[in-house]
Subunit: 379 residues, 4 copies
């Protein structure tokens, strides 16, 4: 059972992800994790803090000479802007944040809540996911995410192989697949930023190379669609999740939704077992189980809640109307969200991989992968 939790406040000493149940024998590329952390800090529209930090992961445990031991891994990302002790409480809760409900829940102040609810915490989730995807890579499972909408601008479809899409994305200032639209998008961000407002958007993650049979249909809390939805919706500022066609599936007839099943013995990829689908409207999941098609997950990110031109709020001490607090913030973090969602999806898929193929050692998982596909093909 692969699982993880995080700890850490926005301005505390560090962020930590504790990853438990990770198989032994994986040579970890720490710089690839750092690359995801740096990508999370980027994207046009980010504020000053991203220039203060250059995140890098440090392993407090779980590795020997760069290889996983099978023990829990504690991944630390140090906060270079650690200053929590010097920060004061906040009296004017920001609409859209945890500020008000969190303070009421804990019968305490706003600082106690906002430090943990901050999107900075997602650095730890990215670190965990970027580790997990290295396990996926051993099995030829590849994960990538990008921005498909920003501030209402639809930025075009995702067609092609993941390596090619990744190259295009990495040349876009906003992590879209259409860098030729960047000028239009950054102009919008600039304009909205000048007005003291913020923007959201939609991100998409695709996972290629999945076998048939990850997840289960058998119990509601183990279905892979539900677990993905939880992991993605639990990312700060996400308000919607779709798998495959998502809401569009609700608007089509069945004959135009379900992906016909074909069989072609010439299909070389053993994980397909010869089955092909002319379409992938299901987004790779049927009844909570991967079907050998690419997994496609979309998520809607609301605009940043901290506005330079603040919203109406209330002073919690005086109960008088005041403007919401403003701490240095971004105009738009949809690019970052694409990195976060990409990595939490990667972790969730790795959980399902470990559920199916075991988690003691990479060597045994690989032998079982081959065994499973042999057994399945023989049927």
């Amino acid at each position: 059972m692969l699982r993880y939790w995080t700890a850490g406040e926005s301005h505390g000493p560090s962020l930590v992800a504790l990853v438990d149940g990770f198989p032994a024998g994986l040579a970890v590329d720490s710089s690839a994790i750092d690359a995801e952390l740096v990508r999370r800090q980027g994207g046009y529209g980010r504020g000053g803090r991203q220039r203060i930090e250059t995140d890098a992961v440090r392993f407090l445990s779980g590795l020997w000479r760069g290889v996983t031991l099978g023990s829990p891994l504690a991944l630390e990302v140090v906060n270079r802007d650690a200053k929590l002790e010097r920060l004061d409480d906040v009296e004017r809760p920001r609409p859209g944040h945890a500020d008000l409900p969190g303070a009421v829940k804990h019968l305490g102040g706003v600082r106690a809540v906002l430090e943990r609810a901050s999107a900075r915490e997602t650095a730890a989730r990215v670190a965990a996911g970027a580790l997990a995807r290295q396990l996926l890579a051993v099995f030829g499972i590849d994960v990538a995410g990008w921005v498909t909408e920003l501030g209402g601008l639809a930025l075009g479809a995702a067609e092609g192989a993941l390596p090619e899409l990744r190259t295009r994305r990495d040349s876009s200032a906003v992590y879209s697949l259409h860098p030729e639209r960047d000028a239009e998008v950054t102009a919008l961000i600039d304009r909205v930023g000048k007005e003291g407002d913020t923007l959201g958007g939609v991100v998409e993650v695709r996972v290629d190379g999945l076998p048939i049979g990850l997840g289960t249909h058998a119990q509601w809390d183990r279905k892979l669609d539900g677990r993905l939805a939880q992991a993605v919706m639990a990312v700060q500022a996400i308000k919607g999740v779709e798998i495959g066609l998502g809401f569009e599936a609700a608007r089509r007839r069945g004959s135009l939704v379900h992906d016909p099943i074909h069989y072609d013995p010439a299909v070389r990829d053993t994980r397909q077992l010869g089955f092909t689908r002319p379409t992938n409207n299901a987004g790779g999941l049927e009844a909570g189980i991967t079907n050998g098609q690419p997994l496609v997950v979309k998520a809607a990110m609301k605009p940043i809640s901290t506005l330079r031109k603040p919203l109406e709020s209330v002073n919690l001490l005086t109960k008088q109307p005041e403007e919401a607090a403003y701490e240095r913030s971004d105009v738009c973090a949809v690019s970052a969200a694409s990195v976060i969602v990409e990595n939490v999806v990667a972790f969730t898929v790795a959980e399902a991989l470990v559920d199916k193929f075991g988690g003691d050692s990479v060597e045994e998982m690989q032998a079982r992968w081959t065994l499973f596909h042999d057994l399945a093909r023989r049927r």
Copy 2:
């Protein structure tokens, strides 16, 4: 810790929900659970099976003279159409179902999978949710769901108090809030059914009367938004989940998304603590915590996967192309989905209520509810 799991196949002896951690001292109205079960069987567009069964719950445990004991409750819904032993295996997997991925996963046949993956299982989830909402009702928390879109037809907004909306919904053949549109909708269902095709739609659930402070921002796997998304996406045929504005939030500016915080000492509802919001775009959740506004969850249901005019498939024994199997099925089950999603949302909210106020006895929970609001107001 309130939790539940289900067991049961579509044509097996019975469906069971085991509910653990339910507080002692609640007088259960079993007929109200039955009413939800019957509602789940209804809605225009359902097939023959719904006429065979008239579901009713039986408590195998957990009650004494109709009152919860604090022990686990085993809720049984007997399958009147139990005939699993006489049913044969299926060789032609239905696209959109668990049939193919499930059979491959388990190195077995299709029957072994489809019986459990069937939407009939949701009767057990409805029973558990319909029990949980009776706990919510003690605290004035009310839950209702309806259909907002069917087959691409948008059926109008939800405005008004829940009791009134419920009345309107219950007079609609498709569980929408606009029975005046029923003729249009049922005509569409009839037309599509005659063509051997199926329809999906969108359902919405609203929870009124929530206090501030259910859920948490502190750990990804305990955030209420993520837990709701899991519970809803794990319902058969659901492919998208939204909270509040959902994807629409991604397309608006921050100043038009976040709900301003006002304070009005004259607000009588103690659970509001005087805070009001002129809008509810967040759908009642900020950072995974309820904010005292109505919770609003939407879900997209794909069309039924079993088509009378079957899709292309493959015979698993011969590997030759054949039409997918057809077992008696519905043209449209979006109305039923509204009942299911309503009840899984109810259960998830009850989990969060028990997390916050404890689960030993209703009496203690009620005293703590008052205590919490007293403490919170005094701050």
Copy 3:
């Protein structure tokens, strides 16, 4: 992930075990489960109720033509003595029972607690364990338990092969391995029973045929020693748990405790990988991982808390001293405890087996078992 929970009161309609994560493809011998249920009802010293019930399991789900589907299994044991609705509350809590602490905890009455806390609930645990051991049997893993002490009488050691020990046990009136001592033991039970008093004892469970490598050392809540201790201590009336030498290990020097490691390529049993141990003081577990030796678990059962010659108690309504309530009860249930502990150990070991070898299908588990031992031997 194999897991289970139970529901059911002593005099309610039925007891239920919901078993989730059980692999597909096992042909279940329902009569073998019934045999364990009947054994649980036996043993010299039992009271009247055991003559009312003859427990038998009924599968509400999870089977098709007697074979597991990979879906959750709901096992029902009907209470023939169901009469909860007619029973009154109890005002005089019995020392040693949940009566007083449970009533206080739930701010309720004693009936609400004692019905669930009753040892009758263990019938559901036995059913779940008796199912799980059928999975173990596929891998040549055999489980048996017996009484080693009763009322202070030490009944002799366990030496020999399990089938032989099982035969001896089954010929003993008290499920010891030394039926020649039965007369002595039953005389003690009779004498104590006449005095209105009760007796406890010690039971032992041995699991043969285990592979090396079940369980883990890596995280405290996944260690197999801890999980076994939880499962056993959570059985009604158990107050002590030992693995291997247990407390005796604390009294010896290290050189007389730890089991030397030898290697003999002639060992035929592939699961041993050639390693042998001249002793088994560890009881088959080192650092929470099975080491290929028999697992040995002991448990101490306190005497039955319900005494015919009642203990001092207090009337909860009047707060005046009164004798504790007496409901029909046993003088000694140590024989039953041996059955219960045997079966909860079996379930816990099956959990660890599924953790290591996966839980999708018995066919895949078997292939992986062979694969693992091949890989391990090649090193």
Copy 4:
């Protein structure tokens, strides 16, 4: 829901405990945690490493100005003897350790396993428990542990109030309650150490000030007796766990085991609700629920597995007989075990406290504590 996990290897950079679900508003005394860490390193019979390290906790998260935020706390204990990268693999597995079963399980080497299985990991558990007991202290719940047997020497009973017992224990070189026996004990340790052998012992933990009603009888995996047994048995080298009389209870008649219930309105401690017990054979737990009496848990520790005069083993590369590896180790660590068991018991009790009284804020927990005792007394 309060929970924790650890990470860290014996010679890796640091040990980490991630504590999730800890209530907001507790002023943490970090030096009291350090004191427990230092106590864990002490006790007569320890080897060289304890002189290298002087453990101290560092909070990577969860605190603001020394007060808990309600967010997860990451507690780090740095390894001053961090040198894992320079250490080689080990070919001669030590009997009694994870070495052999762990290496086989992971198809890897011994180093990968022993670093995590090492008792050094318990420093993280002690840190977590020492944090948790500060929460207990707010409610007047006090925890202390000591050595009752060492190398077969019974060191006398525990009678008196905890503060007094703690003083006596802290003046004993081996953490027993009878420092007058120290000379005898240390002489034994010296003698056995000179012979290259090791010693185990028995430790006891007592928790005073518990309310009635922590834990539950309702589900096997939530019973407090089972959870305590898991936590304690999962401590390195523990092979037996007892609650209250433990195995002695199996040898007495019921009338001499169960603790009579009396009522005395003059009892001042509100948590007793007027109920008294002339004995505490149950060790404070009836049916998995605290009964207001002191909790008493005993644990048996086997002798250290690493012997200076090594046991027989096998070279894993050559499969030839060789002596087991020897790394610097202790002759006896029973004193340390008393600290570890004390702190894991403290954590487990804190879990049950949070289950009963909630975990959002200390302020709310305190108000609920009063409320509960008011409601319970009024019945």
